[in-house]
Amino acid sequence: MKRILLGAGLCMTAALALAAPAHAAKTIVYCSEGSPENFNPQLNTTSTSMDVAIPVYNRLVQFEHGGTKVVPALAESWTVSPDGLTYTFKLRQGVKWHSTNDFKPTRDFNADDVLFSFERQWKTDHPYHKVSGGAYDYFKDMGFPDLLKSIEKVDDHTVKFTLSKVEAPFIANMAMVFASVFSAEYADSLLKKKTPEKIDQVPVGTGPFQFVAYQKDAVIRYKAFDQYWGGKAALDNLVFAITPDAAVRYAKLKAGECHVVPFPNPADIDTMKKDTSINLMEKEGLNVGYLAFNVTKKPFDDVRVRRALNMAIDKKAIVDAVYQGAGTPAKNPIPPTMWSYNNAVEDYPFDPEKAKKLLADAGYANGFETDLWAMPVQRPYNPNAKRMAEMMQADLAKIGIKASIKQYEWGEYRKRLQAGEHQMGMMGWTGDNGDPDNFLAVLLGCDAARIGGSNLAKWCYKEFEDLVQEAKRTTDVGARTKLYEQSQVIFKEQAPWFPVAHSIVFMALNKNVTGYKMDPFGHHHFYPDVDLKQ
């Protein structure tokens, strides 16, 4: 027994004594928060799974690094027909595909690849349509099956998309991760080997990093792609170390085992801010948390009541208490990082006296009774809806409004709100494509005001609707900006919501990481500009 103990002891001491080996040159380690479902962004909906596909793939157009502006990528340029129905993309030439042990590309990227990538999601009889379950949630949610009329290969380097209706956000949608371009040649070779599902597990793309290996639930490895059309990445290797616990991610960052750490614990933010050994970045998320007034129900059909409520709730106190430094008060339905955000709009002041007067004018001098629905779960745009509801309840009581808080299970909650069962209900939204339409039409448009639609105020206001619809039909960004700015003014006047806050997203980085930019969509990018100081 003694001998065994001694032996084990020696082994452990020897192991401990060996210092950790230094990382190879320019390997960046990103401690991701969870395991991917697979490596195909067409199939996934979670940001965790999108992140693992981003280094590998390109889209025809992409969002600029750290922003929401759409820039050329696999398409060098595009033109829109005067009627706004046809988009012709000129494809970049000489773009190389990655290779794997089993696949060596024989040709560069061309129009066939674009057709393959969209037809897989679109055509139910496509040989790949049913592979890996084939849900294609984003493709369907963004309305592509109805929107697309045809996709044609004009020549090897030209592709023409014809739409069934004018849709200005189309270009922004094409920059979303689900619109990534896959290799048709790789797909064919897998089909011949009768292993089509491999396309979703061993990705072959044109992106800045080439997939090397995935050890389930542990590590994903990439290496920089030498022949990348945009120039080789400054980094040599990219590693995702899957680390689900936020406290452990922070510990790994401190111990030098991670360079980039997403989603820090809210409770750790203060400590991190004071920690000089790390670099804490923050950015307003592309989101909004709000309280919707159901305008189809009394007394919220009266704009004076809605305005009164906007003045009765102390927004700043709520943001301070509930978001604890990770939120900024919202005045518009779209976040400030989005183009066309109208900063000239003035929020209603917190003024309970004036609110009381407005209520009296509307015939509710003694207040009224109502309900106040609060989400049962934590969401990115609202860390604690229950607490928020309690604070609102207290503020409203001061002007004579008796609000009773209601909660349901999350799925049930959404369903009932969309059915319009509430009088006042909390909800929020995180943007998909950085287009204002994705907020204004989806959350406040007439089409979404139907029973079961996502316009929870059930507010259909002609003047606002006309502006948003016109913007949807206009492809010129300058003109669209003006229309959206105007629509925000009307939103404020009509007050269908009490906009609460835009949450702030944090990222913690090793001091040696340079050039990292936070992505407004909450994805994580390591190209271009990202580098490690030696």
Partner: protein, 336 residues
């Protein structure tokens, strides 16, 4: 002996059914289904919802879903994960070696530290060492795993920099999995330093996971030893002039080990339960962490299959321990 085995094995069937039923039912009692979890704010049109529910078989009555599931399980099909679309069995056995490796390491740690501590405590009954061991083992037994793990990480990995924070192997090394056991694979790979790295990664999680079994083993050894030390044959041994080492090491320990072996066997369940938390803290890619993610994603087939396979493991080990018990102690074997 054969009858003994058969009697024990027949008890496995109702346990197996019970576990299957519970894992099937409990996850369905948790609000939200796999579709709702992935839908989010956007909502889903009723016709798509109906189609997806149909594809996943969730539109069937509960009893039918269960009957189908049992039927499939009996024919060896645990279904495919809703999230990854891979067969549950494949996923489980990719990750299971990591859990087994961690569990074995924890057990080795618990036995190597627990047995001697319990023996010495019994021999020096009432001494400061005895009180110390018993006090510490009570503390260890009551310690929340999550807190204990983080504490060790903060001290040994962040403050002292002695051990890595989490993972199974330094990212510098890439070892192709052969057996799935990192210690074995790194040894086979022949890559310099890889084995040491795997060992260093194993130390903290093994200690965290082994703490509760360690406490149990130390206490059990102590009380079993105390009982045996009071026996007549020990007095006889001493009277006939045997050395103290021989009396304790040979005559006392051997008899005291019988209940300890049973306790060690029972700890397998504790280990696998504790592995769920330990793996989450140490980002250890085993079945525990996988189960937690399956719960979050409401991945019914993965969760049901995982629980079932773990339960099967625990039942098998307990059966083996019972048999071993019979081997160690002929009185039990012959009594049947």
């Amino acid at each position: 002996m054969l009858r003994f085995i058969l009697t024990r094995a027949s008890l496995v069937i109702p346990t197996f059914l019970g576990v299957t039923f519970l894992s099937f039912l409990l996850i369905r009692l948790v609000p939200g289904d796999p579709i709702e979890v992935r839908v989010g704010e956007r909502g889903i049109p009723p016709e798509r919802l109906a189609q997806l529910r149909h594809e996943m078989g969730l539109d069937q009555p509960m009893w039918k879903q269960f009957a189908d599931y049992i039927g499939n399980v009996l024919s060896g099909d645990l279904g495919t994960s809703i999230v990854t679309q891979n067969p549950v069995l494949d996923e489980f056995f990719t990750l299971f070696p990591a859990t087994v490796e961690l569990g074995l390491a924890a057990m080795v740690f618990a036995v190597l530290a627990g047995l001697p501590a319990g023996i010495i405590a019994a021999v020096k009954r009432g001494s400061w060492f005895d009180h110390g061991v018993m006090g510490l083992s009570l503390t260890g037994y009551s310690m929340p795993i999550f807190w204990w793990g983080l504490l060790l990480i903060l001290f040994f990995s962040v403050q002292l920099g002695l051990t890595p924070v989490s993972g199974r192997l330094d990212l510098l090394y890439y070892v192709e999995p052969v057996t799935g056991f990192m210690l074995v694979d790194t040894w086979l790979s022949g890559e310099k330093g890889a084995f040491a790295s795997a060992l260093r990664h194993l130390v903290l999680p093994a200690i965290v996971l082994g703490t509760i079994p360690l406490a149990v083993i130390a206490r059990m050894t102590r009380s079993a030893m105390l009982e045996v030390l009071g026996e007549d044959y020990i007095r006889t041994g001493r009277a006939k002039g045997l050395s103290e080492g021989r009396v304790i090491g040979l005559h006392a320990l051997r008899n005291a080990l019988i209940p300890v072996v049973t306790v060690i066997g029972l700890q397998v369940g504790t280990l696998l339960g504790g592995a769920i938390l330990t793996e989450t803290i140490f980002s250890w890619p085993g079945v525990g962490k996988w189960l937690v993610e399956s719960i979050n994603r409401r991945d019914y087939p993965a969760l049901q299959g995982g629980v079932l396979l773990i339960a099967t493991t625990v039942m098998t080990v307990n059966l083996l321990v019972d048999l071993l018990y019979g081997v160690l102690n002929p009185r039990i074997r012959h009594a049947r």
